[in-house]
């Protein structure tokens, strides 16, 4: 045998994947807790402690990354990136993990799932999320998406009390696998056309002469389809309403926030990163995806009475708004990232609130179930209203500023029609979000029951609402960060 092969681990590389390690350790911790203790209270207590520590550790290690001059670094055999963009999404996912632990706990127990089992699977999914934003080649991307999805396939059908969970799991699995296969075939074609799977190399080939090899184009098309599935954009969206509705709410919250954000993180990295030159080949198709997503998402949500389904359709529309940013220049990309952050915070908050309504096995399902909520529970209704107004894009919430940036960049790059459609469809958006607000504040007859909120939940919900308002009232600081993060992409 020849000389020993040095592992491609440079100093600092482990810090760069610190959040990933933290969440993997947490996952191992959950499994250990499940085996070590027999009493449920002990299991629960340690699950919570380990989870919070994991999330905190992820956030801290994300912040410890030395960004240097702001340029992207390739680490660990050039498979992953380490830059401001990854830090940004790491913090977002760490926050989501914390929020999920605190806010979903009640819903997890209501669905008769054991928290330790739920969170051990969710932790693997979070590991996948942490990977999506830093994938530097197509294989890492594929594996990250698989790692992200597989635990969720299970989680969707995991609640034994749910009548629809199994069906949701099945649909999610079948459609997700088909999308993965399409993505994989696209990767194969891309590899065939260029002989590489590294973003940097692919980008170089696409922007130099070898670009119009039909293989590369076909690969690009199929990869776009695969990513659009995860993001939930039309016409790859049809799984979202059914799966969001059928899954336990705790899982739906994870899908609406984490999966969506991870898919967007990957898509933005792929389409606006080194491969940005490739975007011009598919920009017409992206235009249609964006337009259809906005129309179908908002129109679909308009007449829904089920809250989860309503939020599912609206998430399709938001995917459209966010992808619209990619049609613009670097400012547009920054707008897309900003919008993603605002969307994730607002939806995390909205689902956080929804999960607390209901008692016993029952959770609130329809819009009418929220009638009179404000009268009985004014504070949490106020928080919910803030999240909904943000999703509707009404100032002074973050949603307004995000839409402002996205539509603005679209107009600047000449997509006036698309911006007009965006503004028009967001009118529908306001209509259905306000239906919930009206149900809560202007109707009296209902008696919605609120599960007891722990002080921690209040703090987390309050923080989410405050950050949503802060992003609307003082968007400057985040916008600067996002802009530098986007600069580091290319």
């Amino acid at each position: 045998m020849g000389t020993p092969i040095p592992l491609p681990i440079m100093p600092g590389d482990l810090t760069a994947i610190g959040p990933l390690l933290a969440v993997v350790i947490a996952a191992a911790g959950f499994l250990a807790v499940d085996m070590a203790f027999t009493r449920e209270e002990l299991k629960n207590r340690w699950t919570f402690i380990i989870g919070i520590i994991g999330a905190a550790l992820a956030a801290v290690t994300a912040l410890m990354l030395d960004i240097g001059t702001g340029e992207s670094r390739l680490i660990l055999g050039e498979a992953l990136y380490a830059d401001l963009y990854t830090v940004f999404f790491d913090l977002l996912f760490a926050l989501l993990m914390g929020a999920s632990l605190v806010l979903s706990w009640t819903a997890v127990e209501r669905a008769r799932m054991k928290p330790v089992e739920f969170y051990s699977l969710a932790a693997f999914s979070f590991a996948g999320m942490f990977l999506t934003s830093r994938a530097a080649d197509l294989l890492s991307l594929f594996l990250a998406i698989e790692l992200l999805s597989m635990p969720l396939y299970v989680l969707a059908g995991f609640a034994t009390t749910s009548k629809t969970g199994r069906e949701a799991a099945l649909k999610y699995f079948v459609l997700g696998s088909v999308a993965s296969a399409i993505l994989l075939f696209g990767i194969a074609l891309m590899y065939g056309g260029t002989g590489s799977i590294d973003y940097v190399e692919l980008g170089a080939q696409v922007s130099s002469g070898g670009r119009d090899s039909p293989l590369v184009l076909a690969g690009l098309a199929l990869i776009l389809a695969g990513l659009a599935f995860k993001v939930g954009a039309v016409p790859f969206h049809m799984w979202t309403p059914d799966v969001y509705e059928g899954s336990p709410t705790a899982v739906t919250a994870l899908m609406a926030t984490g999966v969506k954000a991870a898919g967007l993180a990957a898509a933005i990295r792929f389409l606006a990163g080194p491969m940005a030159a490739a975007l011009s080949y598919v920009s017409v198709m992206l235009w249609w995806i964006v337009a259809l997503s906005m129309v179908v998402g908002n129109a679909g949500a308009m007449l829904q009475s089920n809250v989860k389904r309503l939020l599912a359709y609206s998430s399709i529309a938001h995917a459209g708004y966010i992808l619209m940013g990619l049609l613009g220049d670097s400012l547009g990309t920054a707008a897309a990232v900003y919008y993603t952050a605002v969307y994730v915070l607002s939806v995390a908050g909205a689902f956080g609130v929804v999960q607390y309504f209901g008692d016993g096995d029952r959770e609130l399902e329809t819009v009418d179930d929220f009638n009179g909520a404000a009268k009985r529970h004014p504070w949490i209704s106020l928080l919910f209203t803030i999240f909904l107004l943000s999703l509707a894009g009404i100032p002074p919430t973050g949603g307004f500023v995000a839409k402002f940036f996205v539509f603005g960049s679209a107009i600047q790059t000449g997509h006036i029609g698309l911006a007009l459609l965006g503004v028009l469809t967001s009118v529908i958006g306001i209509y259905y979000y306000l239906r919930l607000v009206i149900a809560m504040w202007m109707k009296d007859e209902g008696r919605p029951v609120l599960a007891e909120l722990s002080p921690t939940s209040w703090v987390v919900l309050g923080l989410l609402a405050a950050s949503v308002l802060a992003l609307g009232c003082m968007p400057g600081w985040l916008w600067l960060i996002v802009q530098s993060a986007v600069v580091s992409l290319v």
């Binding site: 294989l139 594929f142 594996l143 698989e146 597989m150 396939y153 299970v154 059908g157 009548k163 629809t164 199994r166 069906e167 949701a168 799991a169 099945l170 649909k171 699995f173 079948v174 696998s177 088909v178 993965s180 296969a181 399409i182 994989l184 075939f185 990767i187 194969a188 074609l189 590899y191 065939g192 002989g195 590489s196 799977i197 309403p241 059914d242 799966v243 509705e245 059928g246 829904q304 389904r309």
Partner: protein, 100 residues
């Protein structure tokens, strides 16, 4: 030795058959098999290109894909079994409670 194009043709045909199976069969187990078929067609493409470019990368990727396929099959079958236990059916067109 046949040309790369010929290997790729086989790969494309397998992919087409796989997706056709997913779209038309009612039996969930067969649909899972069809998905396996699609993954395998991608693998054949990877190996074809690996040989064409004279690199190993394609082969390594194929190995990873196989592992992913194994995990996917396990989870898919588990979900099918779980669904069967609840509803007594493995027909995909009967799982339509969620709609609208």
């Amino acid at each position: 030795m046949p040309a790369p194009l010929e290997y790729l043709a086989v790969s494309c045909i397998l992919f087409g058959i796989g997706i056709a199976g997913v779209l038309t069969r009612r039996n969930l187990l067969v649909i899972l098999m069809s998905i396996e078929l699609m993954l395998n067609s991608a693998n054949l493409a990877f190996l074809t290109f690996s040989r064409l470019h004279g690199q190993l990368h394609g082969q390594v990727i194929a190995i990873f894909v196989m592992t992913v396929a194994a995990a996917e099959a396990a989870i898919g079958l588990a979900i099918v079994v779980a669904l069967f236990r609840q509803t007594g059916s493995v027909r995909i067109d009967e799982a339509t409670r969620l709609r609208g």
